[in-house]
Amino acid sequence: MTEAKTASGLSIETSGVALRLQRVRRAFDDLVVISDLTLNVDAGEFLAILGPSGCGKSTLLRIIAGLVTPDGGTLNITPTDTKFQTAYVFQDAHLLPWRTVLENAALPLELMGVERAERIARANDTLAEVGLSEAKSRYPAQLSGGMRMRVSLARALVTQPRLLLLDEPFAALDEITRFRLDVRLRDLWIERGMTVIFVTHSITEAAFLADRAIVLTRKGGGVKLDRRLDLPRIRNNELRVSPQLAHEMQALLAAMEEEG
């Protein structure tokens, strides 16, 4: 169990879940997207999933989230009561445009039946964590892309998830915003201790964010490369130009290039 304190001083406990995927298979009509995947993820791990287009990384994430059922194989998550403590961040923020930032952040709790006072308090907390307290009464149409993504993150965190899944969340943002959010995400992970699975096509991002990176094969056959990254726990932008990062990136790059 990891203990942490939110911006308002609220004490929270999160701990990551462990996942075990065995021989998972999924096809859509005739196209086999994942043919035979076996993967173990430890509790509290920050895992990056890399791969070329069509390798099934988004589908894999949706299977883990429970949005798609595999055609074959098994998925085990321990402990088992994690259904509501899985959070998902999409590539676009996908906010409800007719609600304020605060209401959007509180949405998961609302759907789970949490009382208004509590969910507003918790939403305020997560908005503070992503640095958006000032914008809480605004509407999504009035926000920049980066701010909308922060709201999406705040929304994901409001249920104190034990598993956080992100599908190329920062791909549509400009570089500086991306860098900032990378750092923020890593910090939030350290604070809370949840398991994070981060799908990306950016080798730099994968190397910067994760403890462990896997590269999937082109045809969804399986894992081409599974590498533990030898990098410090606390990461900042200085790391981006360091030889250590370059070294890790080279290994990932080589695997990616082989997969085309």
Binding site: L67, F84, A87, H94, L96, W98, L111, Y139, A141, T159
Partner: protein, 253 residues
């Protein structure tokens, strides 16, 4: 107030030009007055027969508004029902299309037999003529929900009714309002047609004046009917502005 008037000016100019042109064309003899009355005659008739015309306008307005309200509520309800499953859609949507294709003139005598001569037939006519756009547009809106948001709602275990009221319905609002805009004008037309058959209101004024060959009165009544349609349209626009101004592209700028 002044700003609203300013917005009305571009629309008013073509109207003024056409009115003046018509007046000149008729007075100069290019168009025969008994076919198309000069605007001045129409205006005169409006003033002279205002009691009769405004009583008729009140009747037609009530019927059109009630018919419109029924088709708005009924249309939305039917669309919600149709959107609940593919099977239900395939089974029942073709019958909804019937509302669009049935020629109201042909079934009007039936309406009279069922509802009698009077308000109920007129309301029924307005309802039948105006409901389909509400159904079609609402259904499209409900079926076009962002799949990622649907996934999000699923992820947090939202019930189908929570998904309907918190996600699908608000997301469909722009489309619903489009449907209502179209339905408003149709409700007025439906009411007038119903009045041809069922009597009273502006439709009756048109019918009787036509027999009397009083084209000036026909035009006066038609003008009032158009204004009624315009008012309804404007009302929906206000509704749309209030509902969407914070978040939909159509109301921003």
């Amino acid at each position: 107030m002044w700003k609203t008037l300013q917005k009305a000016v571009p629309a008013a100019i073509p109207f003024l030009i056409v009115t003046l042109a018509m007046e000149w064309l008729v007075r100069a003899g290019w168009i025969k007055a008994f076919l198309v009355p000069p605007p001045s005659a129409v205006f005169e008739t409006m003033v002279r027969d205002w009691r009769e015309l405004f009583a008729a306008l009140a009747r037609t307005s009530s019927a059109a508004l009630i018919g419109f309200a029924l088709s708005a509520l009924g249309g939305i309800a039917i669309a919600v029902f149709l959107s609940s499953s593919r099977a239900i859609q395939q089974a029942f949507y073709p019958y909804a299309v019937f509302f669009q294709t049935v020629p109201i003139i042909a079934i009007a005598p039936l309406l009279v037999i069922w509802f009698g001569y009077g308000m109920r037939t007129v309301v029924a006519s307005a309802f039948i003529v105006s409901i389909f756009p509400v159904i079609a547009n609402t259904l499209t809106g409900l079926l076009s929900t962002d799949p990622a948001l649907r996934d999000l709602f699923r992820l947090y275990g939202a019930s189908p009714s929570a998904t309907l009221w918190k996600l699908r319905f608000p997301a469909a609002l722009p489309q619903i309002l489009t449907g209502l805009r179209i339905a408003g004008g149709l409700a007025v037309i439906g009411a007038i047609v119903g009045e041809f058959i069922g009597g009273q209101g502006l439709g009756s004024v048109v019918d009787v004046a036509r027999t009397q060959q009083r084209t000036d009165k026909v035009f006066a009544a038609v003008l009032l009917a158009s204004l009624l349609g315009l008012a309804l349209f404007g009302f929906i626009n206000i509704l749309s502005h209030v509902a969407l101004r914070r978040w939909h592209a159509s109301e921003q700028n």
